[in-house]
Point group: C2
């Protein structure tokens, strides 16, 4: 039995009126027992460990709803290029060289960065997902994993089989921290027939589907030409939205598309920075939310961002919508909700994303005793408009400390960095001589 008491400013994300400037959170094993004012612990709660952090905010860990973690290995390898040369001449040839081990170390690099920037859960889509699962189990974070499925490619059937194997081996692994979704890549890389197979398997196993949708105008044009429909209409018509679905990007949507997404309770993974850097466009996040659509935040891969910092992503998401519409849209607290509560809903996780009794003890503390956090008029505004990755002091997942005083406890970060460096440079040398 492990009992931890954290005394800090508490932002539980259970409603915009809830904030305890002098508060505390009690944790027993992997779960939160109580959240409230200082002194509100249940009588008889005798902590083994007390963290006194009166100048920190404790809040739920951030949730990254769309990434390709191992793409950290491509960070800075190719930037500022047009989309197709970037993919065809840089990204794909590099990815073709990745071994299972490379993906393990690239994912570990991503996880060390995520922990250091306050992200406790990710939804990942990539290959060699057993390696990704092992890296997650070692790092101690929470993750929903999806094997990327290029249905139209030569490995479509093999990759679907790998998804089934992944589910068999890793659903519920890491004491429940790991779960699985199916990951058909996109409408333009999977046929209707293939998607229907994926849907049937997902329904049979009761898992969700994670797919890129309406990311670029090129995609819209391809699908329009092929099926005379929008990607959303087409996916709806073939029945993809029957179960739990995470649609990443959704930049280019018609009104009717938004109605479909709302009616079918599709969750959106919004990647503001990737959409800006790759010139994909500005997703209609305000309109989606006004229709009741759940929208989480994602970083996409580190080759198109180039970091995995959800604090930066919160800022960029708010700024991008304010630029497009007006300064009042996506106020700070709503952006925090997207990175926490709505992120959990997007991933289909019902006991993370808030600090509340019975919820998993996935939480972070942020050091607010720094010049950029004064004066303390609004903690939500500071977290969204001011904070950066380096302000995170403590990270806990499932009741276990993954980072204290900015030191990652579950991984040898130096080794991870060196492995990532040498593997990435090996591939670059193979490709570029």
């Amino acid at each position: 039995m492990s009992k931890v008491l954290i005394r800090a400013m508490v932002l539980p994300m259970t409603g915009s009126d809830r904030f305890y400037p002098r508060g505390e959170v009690c944790i027993e094993n992997d779960r939160i027992v109580s959240v409230g004012e200082l002194g509100s612990s249940p009588s008889g709660f005798l902590p083994d460990r007390i963290l006194d952090l009166p100048n920190d905010v404790v809040m739920p860990g951030l949730i990254n709803t769309h990434t390709h973690a191992a793409m950290t290995l491509l960070r800075g390898y190719a930037d500022d290029l047009p989309l197709m040369p970037w993919l065809k001449e840089k990204v794909w040839p590099f990815e073709d060289k990745l071994t299972d081990e490379d993906i393990y170390w690239g994912t570990s690099l991503a996880l060390s960065e995520m922990i250091r920037s306050g992200t406790t859960t990710m939804l990942d889509m990539y290959a060699s997902m057993d390696q990704v699962a092992e890296a997650v189990i070692k790092a101690g974070t929470r993750a929903v994993l999806s094997r990327g499925l290029i249905g139209n490619g030569p490995n479509g059937e093999k990759a679907l089989q790998e998804s089934l194997d992944l589910f068999q081996r890793y659903q519920g692994a890491g004491a429940g921290r790991v779960s699985v979704m199916f990951g058909p890549h996109a409408p333009y890389t999977c046929s209707a027939e293939y998607l229907k197979k994926v849907i049937a398997e997902a329904n049979r196993l009761g898992v969700g589907i994670h797919i890129h949708v309406a990311e670029t105008l090129d995609e819209i044009n391809i699908i329009q030409e092929q099926y005379q429909k929008t990607p959303v209409q087409w996916l709806d018509d073939i029945g993809l939205f029957g179960g739990h679905v995470v649609a990443a990007h959704c930049v280019h949507l018609t009104s009717n598309d938004m109605e479909i997404l709302a009616r079918q309770h599709v969750c959106i993974a919004h990647n503001a920075e990737s959409n800006m850097k790759l010139n994909s466009g500005t997703a209609p996040i305000v309109e989606l939310r006004s229709r009741g659509v759940v929208v989480g935040l994602g970083t996409d891969g580190a080759s198109s961002n180039n970091n995995l910092d959800l604090f930066g992503e919160m800022r960029s998401a708010a700024f991008q919508q304010k630029l497009r519409m007006d300064s009042t849209v996506l106020p700070a607290y709503e952006v925090l909700e997207m990175a926490t509560v709505a992120g959990a809903q997007t991933l289909g996780l019902d006991d993370v994303g808030m600090l509340a009794p019975g919820f998993k003890a996935d939480l972070i503390t942020i050091d607010m005793d720094q010049p950029h956090f004064y004066p303390r008029f609004s903690i939500p505004a500071h977290l969204v408009y001011v904070a950066h990755a380096g302000d995170v002091r403590t990270v806990m997942v499932d009741g276990k400390f993954l980072m204290e005083e900015r030191k990652v406890l579950t991984m040898d970060v130096h080794k991870v960095c060196q492995e990532a460096e040498s593997r990435a440079k090996r591939i670059s040398a193979e490709l570029n001589g």
Copy 2:
């Protein structure tokens, strides 16, 4: 005589092909003596102090070309409001309550945040500028200071006199670290007659002019109605662009405006994040630069950003232009130039913004031995797309260390934070009961 040798990765910002993965910089008193490969120090250079930072990048300190430093006191006081209610009901009433001492402490808070985020020079526009100058002298940074001039207000003449006094007292103060520009606020707050007086005084004293130009569509409409011209045309016609001018914002420009700015060698202070958060729009930075206009980066005040972090500003500037145009515009190295070399040009400073022999020793080091900076394919891409304020380890201005190992050496940061907190809260209490 003080001699310092810094061994690190050197990014001198003297050309995109210049980078020394194992380099060194020699400093004697306030100036750089040499920059080059490891072992390139001049013979006979015997350092009093050696900094061995092989995993840091040393580069020129960042230059903030437009801010209102003391507005840190309003950080988080009012966000997510429409522009006019935000100004009229929140910002202006708060500013009316500011004392000279408040401005000293608000500026000190800004300077402590700037030092911690690698900014060594700012161009400021505010009131009580003697206090701002004193805060700069104490902090040890470099600054160009302009008393904001609302010519159409009751204090227009008094403020102009304060500008003259500021010049008399502080031009060249702090061993040359402080200089002065005149700060007529904007075309819509100053008459032609008033501006002509400012121009005459600026010409007489040989100082530059710092002014907001074409920030919002409202401004364009006001000036169009009043003068049947664009703000840029109008300012050109009354002769404002005859000397050195820093035009902040320049969001809404015609082709002809851009031609005028280029022909008159007007420098632009671009504030990407403020322009996004306040829904001002996207400045045509790529078009300006293609016409040879010098463009620096600014954060604007902390009430509309809400931090003073130029690393975030670099990311946002690049992302905003890529979103508007395509993924190839404003590549990473060019953005770094905007934050350094072009920033110095914007401020009319000819011996900062680069690491080169004879230049002032204004430099920073960034700790690249962190997961988010691996693999090390591109240092410029990492600095623009990945880095955040917390990655800065060392700050030197004029050859003196202002920060080492993230500890600010010239100020009592704790006291600054507490003073700022209590003063901001006092004003808020007076206004809101």
